[in-house]
């Protein structure tokens, strides 16, 4: 049997708040196969963003093991982990988090500046990433000159610029209107289907979750449900799964 792309074993994350210890994840186990599109759902404070951060290597577990792409990241040193992130993970944030003084081109180029690529090669990579998200004509625009949906597309281009295998997205449609959100979801789906990216997405939105192959529900740091889409009817299946677990999800 092939090694899963992400393997999480007995994962515990606890925060120390003054004298109190707050356990966010309690002995969580999870495997994600390469090429999966996983949606993480759960009420606020359920630990989904914490889990996403741990998988992406921007936070450290209190105990337990995390392996991504065959590399155990839970014990990596600071510099090694930073290097690993730059090569293996693409991040997509709810609020896009573009650097306002940089153009779309320069924002997408940011992760590439850490590589040994030549200027010409970097340019090619950036142009390719921007063409995938359909913003080649906006590469010289600053974030303030773009709509929210366009900003998020630039953020996605930045996330895929180094061609990572793993994309993590934290509420990628949370700050967008329905139409722009739909465009972003289509783009994520395409990156998963066409470019074989493994996508782990935190969302509160059932429509977003319906795009995924698999839905994992967390509650109080514990995995409550793990629902996989059936065959080719993934959207229908996921929608049903979401409907079935609707009671879980707080609505705004």
């Amino acid at each position: 049997m092939a090694e899963p792309f992400i393997r999480i074993e007995n994962l515990v994350k606890a925060y120390q708040r003054d004298t109190q210890s707050l356990t966010v994840l309690s002995g969580l186990n999870l495997v994600v196969d390469e090429g999966e599109f996983l949606a993480l759902m759960g009420p606020s404070g359920s630990g989904k963003t914490t889990l996403l951060n741990l998988v992406a290597g921007i936070d450290r577990p209190t105990s337990g093991r995390i392996a991504v792409g065959g590399q155990e990241i839970h014990g990596m040193g600071e510099a090694a982990l930073a290097k690993w992130r730059s090569r293996n993970v693409g991040f997509i944030f709810q609020l896009y988090n573009l650097v306002p003084v940089l153009t779309a081109f320069e924002n997408v180029e940011l992760p590439l500046l850490l590589t040994d690529l030549s200027r010409a090669r970097r340019r090619k990579q950036v142009e390719l990433a921007l063409s995938i998200v359909g913003l080649t004509d906006r590469m010289d625009h600053y974030p303030r000159q773009l709509s929210g949906g366009q900003e998020q597309r630039v953020a996605i281009a930045r996330a895929i610029a180094t061609d990572p295998k793993l994309l993590v997205a934290d509420e990628p449609t949370g700050d967008l209107d329905a139409r722009s959100g739909e465009e972003i979801l289509v783009l994520l789906e395409r990156l998963n289907d066409e470019f074989k990216k493994t996508v782990v997405m935190v969302t509160h939105d059932p429509r977003a979750a319906a795009r995924a192959h698999r839905l994992v529900h967390l509650d109080k740091g514990v995995l409550k449900e793990d629902i996989r889409a059936e065959g080719g009817k993934k959207e229908v299946g996921m929608a049903a799964a979401i409907a079935a677990s609707a009671g879980f999800e707080p609505r705004p």
Partner: protein
Amino acid sequence: MRLFPLVLKNVFRKKTRTALTIASTVLPLLVICLLATFVRALERPDPAATRGMFRLVTRHQVSLAVPIPVTYADRIARLPGVVAATKFTWFGGVYVDKSAKNFFPRFAVEPETFLRVFDDARILEGSNEEWLADRTGCVVGVESYRKYGWRLGQKVTLVGDIYPVNLELTIRGVYDLPEKGTARAIFFNRTYLEEALPSSAGQTGTVYVKAADAAAAGRLPKEIDALFENSPAPTKTESEKAFQTGFIEQLGNVKLLIGAIGFVIGLVVLLISANTMALAARERVTEIAVLRTLGYTKRTVFGLVLAESLALSLTGGLLGLALFSLLEPGLKSGLSNSPAGAFASNFKLFPEVLALGFVIAVGVGVLAGVVPALRSARRPIVEGLRQVA
């Protein structure tokens, strides 16, 4: 170097704040350079040429304002290693009016010995002989001569202020000195003053001494002061440059004062820059967390913030140095028209002062940036991402 454009873009992100911070570096650095140049001009060693070298000044031990007996000049002149000694009395007086622009030194001297002590003076018009032949004659510095449009033979009236007598002098010679900015004074025969005001006879403000060589110049101050140690008017003898510094230092310890002022100004620049950098880093907590997320290491983030601080202070610093270089001729000119005009000749762009300005700019950049840079680098990524800009 790849990240330098990012550093520059961050520096100029808030244009007004950056411009104000740069201005707050430019002006203080200009002042620091001015102060350092003034101190350096005071300390500048005598020129290498023999002419004009090995000159000493003897004055009363208590103060320049207390006169010494004229007989001291003759006694000093008899010491081994002394080429000549000349009496020098500050007349003061008013020419045209009392404004600073019409201020220039006026001394009653002994022409014969004066010309031997000031052997570096060059007569441009008229002659020593004409001066020596006319008891009411005077020699004038070429700078004042040109400034007032004087002519040889012209009468110049000095209205007494320290001495209650007006002197009508006749210009008999125009002198120049090797270093620009020093040929401004009027020297006239002290006999004329003594005739006009007999009470001034018998005393002199200072005695200028020309030593034969460096060795004599080194030992003579002690020997001269020892000669009058137990007299009613003990003396203090210094080299001419030290004397000039001492003249200024009568206002207090000028160098210490200038140093203290420079330090405080530097500290203020540092605080302003540190505040700017702290604000800049605090405003970009999320952005820096995003960079870390993309794979930027703590060290890289530290370098980015520190480089931003350095770029800011160096921009201000280099502009300040450039401005100082541009203004230096004007500053020198202004100094030469002030009571401290004797130091104007030494006032120039000293490489060590420019280097000091550069070092201060770098120091301010590093010190102002190091704490925000450390904080930015050390802040956990997750904590940074949680902050809403």
